[in-house]
Chain length 499, copies 2
């Protein structure tokens, strides 16, 4: 009955939307009625008490330039958030979590079908958690706001017919979505040999869509020629955006007006900009460089390389920045061993100010992984944690010396490989969402201390830990909350380890 | 009030769908609940009397191998269909018809944005009309069944997260949808220089989705590696399918099981197969040939070329077949005139049995048009009618002799060019949907005898004429019915000629 009531409330919200809304219809197709129309359930908004203990803004992919999305207990954390809550929310293309194989595996093979789920059906990145609300972008063409305590939908909207592959940014009253998919149209396929191909140009519409964060209403959009697959970064009321046409923009976060544009060339894949001490850090593919730009002017301060990086590797990975050091990695080519393609992952640290190389390491050999070619690094208190799908491992390095501390081999890595997502450090534990599981390691030794099978598959999903709850999104198109205690204390039974 | 009632009926149908439907959820993500869930309004089905006068099946894109979608009055045609009805149905990404410019024109420019609307937002092809129901595929990720008399929605479904660019086929109790979009993933971009690039592989999911034609329920799907942008053809309970990976399939139309596969190479863009006297005709791009295959075995009977055709032109156009003649055309390269890219359109007729070239003509010079590079030919009683966006004209040729009969220049062709869609011959008039208008010509002279501004833009949309009603779909994501009399008798006022 409660379900019916909620649904009918929803129906009446929709009824209101059936009236023509010329101002909205005038800025984007499909918003005024029909299946893509925004829905809003104000009765599912968090109570004022339930917003406590959460961050009040979300300025970067993976929360911050370090990529550590942990928000420990405070004096204000409510009891439910301390204990942890458990819920699941099925997004629009939800594939049953009981399904171990991706949709389409019989045609594409499991390896390609896994990448396709991450790129076209589910959540490529994890969630954002702000003031008691979980925000998520999905490749299903919708963005979602869900009550962090109850898992109930607050709003859902689809301001453009394309995949949302990022992490929603939230500042003030606004949510920012990034829009773009992996496809190239035929004219750009033809341009690839000249290194001028733009990803996403003419493949639906790209750019940034700014919404009211309470009700999901579209405020404005900033269109770009190339795909805006990376999540922008926001600092001092400016959004920094990287696109598939090799353009970097700074726009005013309030008005959406362009402040500067820098055409560096190449292709932004999933390399999310990071802003640190007045500089913007990001990487491009095809014309493969790591860039440091002035946030003020867009001028290039320095640019660096990762030796032998594959064409896409460098543009995939988001640099992590902390303590004056930028850490970057990419899957790299290794001279052929008897005709078989062998790869490694090269990780490199640069002085953030001038790009001077501090250290470089390789992470071991393996076959070429499909899709995303690297692992997103995370930095916590002078240690870098980084994975790779080449040989399905995570490693830890001293940030300043580059000393390797440990190597951990991911069990059940799956057909497309695991190890792409950044870990989260929280209260003496390292949490890693990869494959169909969340693993808990001892961050000092790399020893496995806990794990839980949750189903689906995690793409570039970092565990977002607020108080005692861990929030996740996956490629099967689900959002999920799990008590931290349920993962740390979990003793897996045999059947939960399979498949 | 009627609107509210209908909506509430809709809400209750949706309520029923909120119950888990494991059998459906198990075959495709997103079908059991949420915005992509199928909706079905049985009260909007046509009455038995309203099904009369319509075709009882739809076996080819544009209705038949001739591409003439006219179904004249019969003794059974009901009065409403004779007089003609008028309605509009807003699909899921409907852009206001009062908008003269496409969405995104300020970023892409009008030329690219027009193509993007056709390829990602609205209906690329026209509708299918069977037994009182209008069926349509849209790039908005939905297929629709609408009551042909009232314009009310019967069902809407989204069995896969991709664009539907074809014309729904309807045979017996089944509707067949073709699935695939124009994008290439990065691995296939890299393969293009080896001529082995597959369009659509790893770009969401491709293939054929078979639905119950009364309620839209998914019956089965046949997945393909490459995009299935072309509409298949159906004959003797076999579907003939061409894909972006250069594969041609015959599958059993009842079970979805493969009968044969022929890998010819190249890329199928929008060239829809035609079945005629036991042969399958279609064309491929990049490795550019027109093929005639045995419908029984898939063996190549003959293959032909169009001289100097652009890389995509040949794979775009659907051959028309009648009276033992195959007609094909493509935008073709012309030796450079002082550095400017100049194009022409080459049209060629082949003996359907052996591929012997009967005649070849060029259709005049012009600049390179964006996107679809050719015009879909239509054959009626020994005359071929064919357009081209190179110089925005239609021409008529004698089918057997190739004699050119007339040339008509399209007014208001727009930034992306006009002339891609096949005309429809009905009762002594030639109807052409191109740009934002339907034009009526004297088929013997090419003289303009009527026109009507309807708004939006017509892509590869042929007017489907049943009795006295003309059914259309457009790139602004609308379905529309207009009385034939309203177009023939229309005397345009000045404001209706602009823009």
């Amino acid at each position: 009955m409660a379900r019916t009531l909620h649904f009918l409330l929803g129906a009446f919200s929709t009824l209101l939307l059936l009236r023509p809304l010329p101002s909205v219809a005038a800025i984007a197709p499909g918003l005024s009625q029909g299946p893509f129309a925004r829905v809003f359930y104000p009765n599912h908004l968090p109570t004022p008490g339930d917003t406590l203990g959460f961050p009040t803004a979300w300025t970067h992919a993976y929360a911050n330039p370090r990529h550590n999305a942990a928000f420990p207990l405070t004096a204000h954390t409510p009891a439910w958030l301390k204990t942890g809550v458990r819920w699941r929310y099925a997004e629009a293309r939800a594939w049953p979590l009981s399904r171990h194989k991706p949709y389409g595996a019989n045609v594409y093979g499991e390896r390609l079908a896994l990448a396709t789920m991450t790129q076209f059906y589910g959540n490529a990145l994890g969630v954002s958690a702000v003031d008691g609300i979980i925000y998520a972008e999905s490749d299903d063409e919708f963005a979602y706001a869900v009550n962090a305590r109850t898992g109930k939908l607050i709003w859902r909207t689809s301001p453009v017919g394309n995949t949302f592959m990022g992490d929603p940014l939230v500042v003030g009253n606004t949510v920012y979505l990034s829009v773009g998919n992996i496809g190239f149209n035929f004219s750009n396929v033809q341009r690839y040999s000249q290194k001028t191909a733009a990803r996403g140009a003419g493949v639906s519409y790209n750019g940034i869509y700014a919404l009211n964060r309470i009700n999901g209403k579209l405020l404005w959009h900033f269109g770009t020629m190339g795909a805006t697959m990376p999540t922008p970064a926001i600092d001092h009321n400016r959004l920094f955006i990287a696109t598939g046409s090799g353009d970097i923009y700074a726009i005013n976060a309030t008005t959406g007006r362009q402040v500067w544009i820098k055409r560096v060339g190449g292709i932004a894949n999933m390399s999310d900009p990071a802003v640190y001490h007045g500089h913007v850090y990001l990487a491009m593919a095809v014309v493969p460089y790591v860039y440091c730009l002035s946030a003020q002017t867009g001028h290039i301060v320095w640019r660096g390389v990762v030796p032998d990086a594959t064409k896409t590797g460098l543009g995939d990975v988001s640099p992590a920045v902390a303590d004056g050091v930028v850490v970057m990695d990419a899957v790299a080519n290794v001279p052929s061993h008897g005709g078989r393609t062998t790869m490694t992952t090269v990780v490199r640290a640069y002085n953030a100010e001038d790009g001077h190389v501090l250290w470089t390491h390789t992470m071991g050999l393996g076959p070429k992984p499909p899709a995303f070619k690297g692992g997103v690094p995370m930095i916590h208190k002078g240690i870098v944690y980084i994975g790779t799908p080449v040989n399905n491992i995570y490693q830890a390095f001293h940030l300043h010396s580059g000393q390797r501390l440990w190597t951990w081999h991911i069990p059940h890595a799956g057909a497309a490989g695991a190890g792409r997502s950044p870990p989260t450090y929280d209260d003496g534990h390292l949490f890693i969402a990869t494959g169909a599981r969340v693993f808990v390691l001892n961050p000092h030794t790399g020893q496995l201390v806990g794990q839980k099978y949750l189903g689906g598959r995690f793409g570039l999903v970092n565990p977002v830990i607020v108080g005692g709850t861990l929030y996740l999104a996956n490629s099967w198109d689900w959002l999920e909350a799990v008590p931290v205690s349920a993962i740390i204390d979990h003793r897996p039974k045999h059947r939960q380890l399979s498949p």
